[in-house]
């Protein structure tokens, strides 16, 4: 193997092993910051040794052994420095545990628990949302600071700072490395799910930049979701979120046109949907339902996505069922965006006039004031009602509000298509897609 080959192999090993490594080390040394430093040291050691010695047969075990030696040194130094420190007992216990002859087996037994603890720690509520996202991708996803920066279109130094600050916050708040129990669990779990879905959405419909989608982020979020489903198989909403992401990701290929422009749901070539992912999504949804979670917010959204996935043509879409599911979602997880989507579904199920009535009721909603999809949806409904001049103005307004270049082009196209069309009486027969995709 040449040196660059070895480097790529080491990167691959890191991607596979880093989360377990950091998780296992955090249990030993007590905080994620120190654990990540130890893991990074082991990585540096591998980068020095492996190009000459070759990649060992069990690279993960090698990294763990190397990092553990350093962890023991660290604990000894800490014990010397802070003899009276209250954590001493805890740390000594960890050192003793490491004296168990079959160290790797001991570590392996904890791997699942440790990874789950790591996810909960990275998504801890003491951290800002941005910090949770960066820390999760870095510690659990194994992404480099540069990769995270590229994904979110911010300078690498910004991400690096966010991560350093997040680690400090966790240490200062003395956040325990544990899986929350009882009443705390639900809230903490929803924070983890929120972070994963946020990452997914940033990939699925980039809020800014030139690309309509950044598929690598979707893949990372899906991978983390699938990992979480393996770690917490009894939690219905985890499966609900995985189902939602699998079904949405199944449309990735179809929702980008030949020159990178967005293709809306009802215009998509359904033969290009990924039926493997749809099958996985429906399976995950079935699991969520079996666990009694059919009415969880993510499961409900997955059920709505499943209605689209099951329709072989846009005409087959069961809009009445979708509207009914939105009715439930609006009760379980009310939000202006849900209300807007509900209005779209109602418009599709019961006609654009009814839909427009619903949308108009939302125009005074402060949270939607600068949300580009509100005028986009209004424009669409007005277009269907033959009120082209009003529709054009709405599409233009939507275009001025979006930060995504591809989406702006699409909205301006729709505005242009409305311009100069004669006003017709009665609704147009054409069924254009709403803005969801």
């Amino acid at each position: 193997m040449t040196a660059p080959d070895t480097h790529r192999a080491i990167e691959a090993v890191w991607r596979i092993e880093s989360a377990r490594l950091i998780a296992g080390l955090t249990r030993i040394v007590g905080d994620v910051g120190a654990a990540e430093d130890l893991a990074q040291d082991a990585l540096v050691a591998a980068l020095e040794r492996w190009p000459e010695s070759g990649v060992p047969d069990s690279p993960g075990a090698w990294l763990m052994a190397t990092a553990k030696h350093r962890a023991i040194d660290l604990l000894r130094r800490r014990a010397l420095l802070e003899r009276k420190h209250e954590q001493l007992g805890y740390e000594l216990e960890a050192v003793q545990e490491m004296a168990v002859p079959d160290l790797d087996a001991a570590i392996d037994d904890h791997v699942g628990d440790d990874l789950l603890r790591l996810m909960f720690t990275a998504c801890h509520p003491v951290l800002s949302t941005e910090a949770r996202v960066a820390l999760t991708l870095r510690l659990v996803g194994g992404l480099t600071t540069e990769e995270i920066a590229r994904a979110f279109l911010v300078p690498a130094s910004t991400v690096a700072q966010r991560i350093v600050r997040a680690k400090r916050t966790l240490a200062e708040a003395r956040v325990r490395f544990e899986v929350p129990r009882g009443a705390e669990l639900a809230g903490r779990l929803s924070s983890v799910l929120e972070v994963l879905y946020l990452v997914f959405n940033e990939g699925y419909s980039a809020t800014a930049g030139d690309d309509w989608m950044r598929p690598a982020l979707c893949e990372d979020a899906l991978r983390l979701g699938r990992i979480l489903a393996g770690l917490a198989p009894e939690e219905p909403e985890v499966h609900g979120l995985v189902a939602l992401m699998e079904i949405q990701a199944s449309r990735s290929r179809a929702r980008v046109g030949p020159s990178g422009e967005p293709v809306l749901l009802l215009d998509q070539n359904r033969a290009r949907w990924d039926h493997l992912l749809i099958g996985r999504g429906l399976e995950a949804l079935r699991r969520a339902e079996e666990l009694g979670g059919a009415e969880g917010p993510y499961a409900l959204q997955a059920r709505i996505a499943a209605c689209h996935a099951r329709a072989h043509t846009p005409e087959e879409t069961d809009w009445k069922r979708i509207a009914a599911l939105y009715d439930v979602l609006a009760e379980v997880a009310p939000s202006p965006v849900v209300a807007l989507n509900r209005a779209v579904a109602i418009g599709m199920a019961f006609g654009p006039a009814v839909g427009l009535e619903r949308v108009d009721a939302l125009t005074s909603e402060p949270l939607l004031r600068s949300y580009h999809l509100l005028p986009a949806v209004r424009g669409d409904l007005l277009d269907k009602l033959g009120r082209f001049e009003e529709a054009r103005a709405e599409f233009e307004r939507a275009a001025s509000l979006t930060r995504n270049a591809r989406e702006r082009d699409l909205l301006l196209q729709r505005a242009a298509a409305c311009a100069g069309r004669p006003v017709v009486t009665g609704p147009s027969r054409e069924r254009k897609a709403p803005m969801s995709s």
Partner: protein, 142 residues
Amino acid sequence: MRFMLLVKADKNSEAGVLPDEKLLTDMGKYNDELVKAGVLLAGEGLQPSSKGARVKFSGSKRTVTDGPFSETKELIAGFWLIQVKSKEEAIEWVKRAPNPFPGTESEIEIRQVFEAEDFGPEFTPELREEEERQRAAMAKKR
């Protein structure tokens, strides 16, 4: 990116010999590891070629041949479909797999799956044409 990991057949798999308990356990553990890492999309073991068939294409002619097929080493006994970041990561995962035919020499081939972007910009005119054709066909159906 996605990779298909192809397990090459051997005389035992072709004879329909089922894996023993140890191999089943090891494979189960390995599959579990792939699932827990969030990389496994699909995976199946295949019945011997004696239960399969081939359709040979020659111009517009189709000829069906029933299995078994003789060139054992070229046959496939099973596959995994995984989603990873690089070929190296796929290789790392394959190195961790149990030997599919313990005690013998066996092989797992790693092949990358085409993604839409692999076709590059030069493919877009045809793609667009295809899209338009399908749309026209759908419009007619309405």
